[in-house]
Symmetry: D3
Subunit: 313 residues, 6 copies
């Protein structure tokens, strides 16, 4: 049975600092499963949309941990390749330092199994049978072969009229230059139906940081729905004919990482279920808010009824 949502990207092990502050003084780390697209797949599944992930993990204990987690979450792993020649990608999270409400990531993913994703990992039929295909700007930044795999996957989705969801997610450390990032991502954006972005990425992609210019810019590139995340100022979603916005929810931030992916996954799921733009946005914000209250990106992803409980307080 083919999943309704298919995501492409590296599944990683995250080592989250138990204490805040610079990692040089942190002695205990907590292991979690992460990866931007992986989190979107888990979000969809927890909210009742079947999902699958296309990725590579190493033939090691961390790869086994990722597989067990995904199976436990009922995410389809038929497209997870175990690469015998490279370790599973990992990264470390420094929380609350130097900026109290932010986290900083230290990657050990260069040469990882996930960075070796290549066109051979892409089964066009698997993607073509889905309702939505999701990828982020991280995957094409991992390596040349991963970029090619992304293009192949996007093309497959486009050809079969699968809704393409794309989160710009530009991680500067993974790119040679901002120009390179823009050049690689634009062809994807031009085929994107649902785009998630923020002012920082929009500056790189469009040269714009103001909301109206961002919306106008991406819509004019052919994007169907543009969703702009503005941190404490909430989020806005727009199509060529409709506009909705929603406030952020103030909450104690344990670790913001993963919130954007739970947000994206919930927005997509809500849209798939036929919800209105504004309701989709509000539900997405609730999901993102819950994720920032915990360490780990995927543990606190809400189900549909968990979100309902927040709406009906």
């Amino acid at each position: 049975m083919k999943p309704e949502l298919v995501a492409l990207g590296e599944s990683l092990i995250q080592f989250n600092a138990l204490s805040r502050g610079p990692l040089r003084h942190v002695t205990l780390y907590e292991r979690h499963i992460a990866g931007a697209e992986t989190t979107v797949a888990v979000t969809a599944r927890r909210q009742g949309i079947s999902s699958g992930i296309i990725t590579r993990v190493g033939d090691d204990e961390f790869g086994k941990a990722i597989l067990a987690w995904l199976r436990g979450e009922e995410v389809d792993v038929s497209q997870v390749r175990i690469d015998p020649d490279a370790p599973t990608g990992i990264y470390f999270v420094q929380r609350g330092f130097p900026i109290p409400s932010k986290s900083r990531m230290f990657y050990y993913r260069s040469g990882s199994a996930g960075s070796r994703l290549s066109p051979s990992d892409i089964d066009p039929e698997y993607i073509g049978s889905a309702k939505v295909f999701h990828v982020t700007g991280i995957t094409p930044a991992l390596s040349e072969s991963a970029r090619e795999a992304t293009y192949k996957a996007v093309d497959a989705a486009y050809r079969d009229e699968v809704t393409i969801s794309f989160d710009t997610n530009i991680r500067p450390v993974l790119w040679r230059s901002e120009e390179r990032a823009a050049r690689v991502l634009k062809p994807i954006i031009e085929k994107t139906d649902i785009l998630f972005t923020d002012p920082a990425d929009s500056r790189i992609l469009l040269g714009e940081t103001e909301l109206e210019a961002i919306l106008r810019g991406f819509l004019s590139m052919g994007v169907g729905t543009v969703v702009v995340k503005m941190g404490e100022k909430g989020a806005v979603a727009a199509t060529s004919s409709e506009r909705a916005s929603a406030d952020s929810i103030p909450v104690y931030v344990e670790d913001p990482i993963g919130a954007g992916d739970a947000f994206a996954g919930t927005f997509i799921t809500s849209q798939l279920k036929g919800r209105k733009l504004k309701e989709s946005l509000e539900r997405a914000i609730i999901a993102g808010t819950l994720v920032v209250t915990v360490r780990g990106d995927e543990e606190a992803i809400p189900s549909e009824s968990d979100i309902d409980a927040n709406i009906h307080i």
Copy 2:
């Protein structure tokens, strides 16, 4: 020596999740002593009012832990029966999920020693010698025999003109129906001198959720002092002739469970010490506020001087 405050209700072991989020992903749990009425008894004692608890625990390690804790807190345990045929009641606390500022409880108390409380556990003389008798809506919900024990205890207190303090505390999962809850609790309320409640419980008991209607409703049932807890909106206390209100204190919420009982215990104690309605309310809010800053219901209950320190900052 008979205690000044006597409480009736199940003492339980609480397993509090070390991490926030759904329990399915929480691996470490911290053991605490809990039980609504138990917390009131500990609060009174810590603030200089002798107290005792009428309860049952199992003949097991958890029962021993409860007894040691109560003795350590100098709560009289002469009326704690060790039931050889049932385990000590326990429950688990899921924190911050699905609603970030709330906790959810998972009980394992059906058939527990505490649920087997019965009229045979009630010594009318023990209650009759006290100044205040306290019980909550939880105890009569535990079982038929526990309901009978509650009625017997309330009657004993009423007969000997002991001040009756009652916290409505309706836990839906413990009742067959809201109607049943209302039917069982109303006879107690009619004998109550100090009543603690909130809009949610008032809806079930009175069909009212507005403050004025709640106050009017309970006062007209003969309650002496009605205290309505309104969460972030603070609390109000009223008698037929007097009214006082106090604001809540914004604070980081680690776990809200137990706050209502520390609030009630402090309000009762303050009244016993002759404090004014408003001062009693303010002190009660400080106590409740401290309890939400920690896991565990009883560790952070303040002494009188601890409360003073908050007033004189």
Copy 3:
């Protein structure tokens, strides 16, 4: 696809004390997945034999944790029923006290979902398609309906000539009397192909505690292979025509619980793979030894190659 090994019994949540000593003084507990038959199913799967478990869990966070774990381990969960009316069974482990090398269990499984297993949970075809059916003396002790379910399952296996594996596993606290245990278990034993037992259980079942008498007794009841576990003295396996023994491996004991099930699962798997009695026994002892070095019953179950690594040191 039907699994090669099918097990029947309650999957439970285990709360293992982080510190040794009496639980009354232990404040931190670590959550694990357990259940004697569940552990056998996980053992088989980790060693390359497909497996499935027939059980019931509650519609709660702990039930979800069990399902996620089993899916992660690739144990078939098609026969796990989610019971909306009862909580998932749990128990607590006290380690190293009062006997330094032993653990003591405190159950909260009376009235649990798992104790409500009934004949309606048994699909004879599911069992009939397996190569091995495994159950222990715990399942028929849980309740009348669980006993009937066990009989129905054993009969189904017997009818379809599925190898029946049975671990006597008599937990005194679950039985009204030793006589009752013997009476209920004997009809199962008479259909058993591979029997796991120890001198303590054999005393109850046969009135014998000496090895030779135990072997003779069970073989004369029609058991094909009798495996007697003798703690530090190792283990012996015998058929009517063959005999093998293996020494125990001295190791630091963190928690012995679960070792017997990893032992049984490995012995069965080894036999299914055509290994000799002695080799099967040696491999089973290695598996059991690894399990006692950790808290949790299933985390340290070895794969086939993990066992090989111990043999070729």
Copy 4:
């Protein structure tokens, strides 16, 4: 009601290193209640002999922790004085370093409340009503006033024919010189009925390290029963007419501190209950063995039935 066993000595807070090795690299510490004589009082009570402790604690959180613990253990605290002018004594435990099976203590008890014990803390009647009075060589080493208090207490016990139990327990760091230790302790030993010692202390007190010479030496000083602890070689007890010995029990050593006091408390209790010398010794060794398996001196002290469970394995 006067307790059957009265002990005199400083109750302390122990901070036990969570990890082995030199404390300079240990970041987490676990708080426990300790004190040689306190542990003996807890041991007696847990085994059914009422007990009380004469000590001083500070008017601080650590003093409150000690009082709550003792009340929880039902040790009489009527003779615990809260000293407003000095902090509660504390110490740190370094485990397994530099000698793997040993612990090293770092005291912060100079000037502590307990070190200010003085003759004014001694109520001769309280001691005179007991069956046994217990003290160790630590108390008279704390300060001049503590030495005087010890003499006063020993005299009171002697006068009223209360059995005097004394553990030599010479901690070099607390004494100016070995000569001083010997001079101070000998007058106590001469009044002692049950003496606990080891070869190291005997060298200081008698100039002897050989078992026979030690026994002879102390018996000739008038001691009724001499108990010599010889670590891995077990223990020997002797009166002028009887002799018994018992082997040590090999076990994983988490922290040996406190074992000697659980041993002494159990030996005394067994004697009070009329047990034979050898059985008393065997039970004492079981108690000491359990204590070394955990951090903390008092958590794993066994009850009488816990000891029985070890005997009847």
Copy 5:
């Protein structure tokens, strides 16, 4: 090579409660390095100003931990004396109780190595070669000899025209009376170039609690720059000719201890680097804010670029 900033004061070990609430219920403690002046020295070094500390530690594991930490931070330890006759000073931190946003300290520093600082520890040349000498009101409160050492050091700095930085830091528990504190500290203040204080200390020193009066008072005593910390109301710095103020930054408070010293160290460093008063103040507030987000005083002290990251968000 002589350091640019020299600080004088006791380096201590801090045991910080892992959980909030009264210490009597806290079982786990985390070890950190602390000491007001030590934190200033570490702050300077982390921000590029070489620094050294004049202190005494015991010849014990905690003294070794302090030395290793300081060396790790590249603070010059040539003036740290290892005192063979006294233990390293320690203290315990109770967090969030009884006032939710504050911590309470329990000292074990009476008789500590650091309290034995004396004029013999002061090398005038070492101080005279520095650009800034820093001390707080804690050091002269430790003992008579420590007071003399402080005076000697201040005189040496004054003589060689080293900038004298002084934080009033009056800890009531360390002083016999407020008058005594004022009498001892005033001669230091009269030589101070940069003074850090708050309204509570100013009341003791000047009899003033209002900002304008405080500034006027200290400036008229000859202080060059007065910095007044006003908690949630921010901070103000003034010279006879200039004035600057900065707001506090709202943030979750894990433990406020140490924030004032990171603030002072950053202000001094910024001034040394030629920054304006207002910028120095803003940077100091960022440093102090980061320190309150963690347990431990020195782990989260920011570098210059860490502060920049907060300014350019």
Copy 6:
């Protein structure tokens, strides 16, 4: 001031599993500083021999942690290069699985700063001023440039008649083939004065696994002192004219990693101090034994007096 012992090799961050068993089920990890040669340098310094390490770390938090640790240990870091283009090398330790007494390492050091060690990092004068130069078989296995650096360093030591100490330490995962390992290491061995090895490495290097053949083989290659570590069977040291052996010390194994390096460092130090072969061996075994009792390679390295304490028990 040039150090007496200079070591060359990658300093790493080690993440040690808090729980035993396969890493896929381990969620908490403890950070330590490691690296075979680094551990030897720390060992020497802790035992009174000045030391320095030649290595590279990344310009990241983990590199900063390594530098702070080394400075804290007073190891000279003047030859530690901070490589801006590569991350600090790290690895994970799986304890007790699949072999109960062993650990398994998972490296993330390919492309790490340390693997980029090159001849440009080698200052011949720095090495030439030392008394001993130490390196292991790991360094030349890291990369081509690291191999060249090793050869350059060995040559520099050889030229200036610095004692060359070499530990064969063949990690199969770091080598293309056993033949390659042998070919690279033999030229080093031929210049080695003190060689540490074991039967497994000797098989690869000499084709021999028997003690006598190993000793003969290496001595005939020109090695001055050959030390063969034989695990539970102890160790043997031999020169052409002398022979000594020492037994292993049975102890609970928390994590064996690092023991060999503490052993080597202690043996070298003892030789430098003029101790006899046998005494050097016995002291080395004590050091190695202490290291296996803890997680982390360097925390429990003993000082000279710590070793003495074990000898004079």
